[in-house]
Each structure stands twice: as C-alpha cells, then as structure tokens.
C-alpha cells in the first residue's frame, strides 16, 4: 500500500551544524511532496515543497532533495539553530484522480539541537 516513512526517528545535532532528515515513499504516482515542522503543542507548519519535475529546491536555510529513482526525499537544514528543534514530517500526494486532495504523512523525525 501507499506509505511514507522516515529513516531516523530522532536526530541530535550541534548548534551550527547542518541537519539532514530523510524520508522514503512508496507510491510511484506521488508527484508533490511537502515538508512540515511541528513544534510542541502546535499544528504542522509548512516549510518547503517540491514537485516531481524537480530534484532540488532551496528555501531560506533549507533545501529539499528528491530522488525519484529510489523514492527518497530529504530535508537539509543549514546552520541548525535551537529554534529548529521540532518534529519534522514529510508528506506526499498525487494529482491523480482530480487533484492534490489527500496527503499521506510519515511518522516524523524529532530534531534535537544542542548548544
């Protein structure tokens, strides 16, 4: 069945280091991917998205890489800061059947940034 999973449940990094959070997906028809950040007690916050016609997209301090060959998605955070500590979710969806109507979420990776 369709699934989105994450390789590492917890990632601990030193402040200032770069962080890489990985995600695997199984639905070959997925053509739109999103990374969300969720802080404790809050709803998921959109970070960055990427469509399947791209393999890389950059935002402010964040980069998403998409490898469709191995169905792998990663989120890179440059110069990680304490404020980046949160749970990060990847989500996938497909434009098949009329539009991006459902997101499939992975289990989440907790990023802990240490001073």
């Amino acid at each position: 069945g369709e699934s989105v999973g994450l390789h590492l449940p917890t990632l601990s990094v030193q402040e200032g280091d770069n962080s890489i959070i990985n995600c695997a997906y199984s639905n070959s028809a997925s053509d739109y991917f999103i990374w969300y950040k969720q802080e404790s007690g809050k709803g998921p916050q959109f970070i960055i998205d990427i469509r399947s016609n791209m393999d890389k997209r950059q935002g402010q301090r964040v980069t998403v890489l998409l490898n469709k060959t191995v169905k792998h998605l990663s989120l890179q955070i440059a110069a990680t800061q304490p404020g980046d500590s949160a749970v990060y979710f990847c989500a996938e969806t497909s434009s098949f059947s009329g539009g991006y109507n459902k997101l499939i979420f992975g289990a989440g990776t907790r990023l802990a940034v240490h001073p």
Binding site: Y32, I34, K42, G43, D49, Y100, F105, R110
Partner: protein, 115 residues
C-alpha cells in the same frame, strides 16, 4: 502564513458528553480537512470537504461527524465522547489547484482529553 483558527485549544470533558470542535479559515479555501494525531505520531485524515455541502470520510475511521454549511467553517462533532477519543485534532485547508502551492495549511489544533 495561513489564517486558520481552531477552538477550543484544549478541552477536558467527561465521557458521554457531546462536543463540537470549531475550525475556521479566512482565506476562502474550498478544501478543508480534519486530522487526528496522537503525541509524536503521524497525522491521520478523518474527514475532508471539497466545498460547501461536501463532506467525505478520511482514511482513518472516526466516530465523529462534520458539516460544511459555509466555506469558511468546518466544525467536527462527537455525539458521545469516550476516552478513546482522547487525541489532538488538527484542521487544515488548501487553496484551489493551479496556484503557486498545493500545500495544506494547518490550524493550531485542539487537544481533547476525555475522562
């Protein structure tokens, strides 16, 4: 940043009570969603709506019901709350397809505890 609101933020209630969780968005989004999330776990879609008078059940079976009488409002109701309903409930909305992004924007969530 999306303008989507949920009330109450926290609710502690006894078994058997009827409750309604409110969700409103001011962006005119046609598609709205309800997710259920246990602490540290992935989000599970329980209801969604394509627009006024449209409601669909999500991937996770839920005893709750929803209504969509107005575009901006998507309340979720539990007729008789039980301890198994204890969870965080997240509301989301999405802009029409064809725009710059197809992501869903989330509210802050309602943390429900049923005693």
């Amino acid at each position: 940043e999306a303008d989507i609101y949920q009330t109450p933020r926290y609710l502690v209630i006894g078994t058997g009570k009827k409750i309604t969780l409110e969700c409103s968005q001011t962006m005119g989004h046609d598609k709205m969603y309800w997710y259920q999330q246990d602490p540290g776990m992935e989000l599970h879609l329980i209801h969604y709506s394509y627009g006024v008078n449209s409601t669909e059940k999500g991937d996770l079976s839920s005893e709750s019901t929803v209504s969509r009488i107005r575009t901006e409002h998507f309340p979720l109701t539990l007729e008789s709350a039980r301890p198994s309903h204890t969870s965080q409930y997240l509301c989301a909305s999405r802009p029409p397809s064809g725009g710059a992004t197809d992501t869903q924007y989330f509210g802050p969530g309602t943390r429900l505890t049923v005693l």
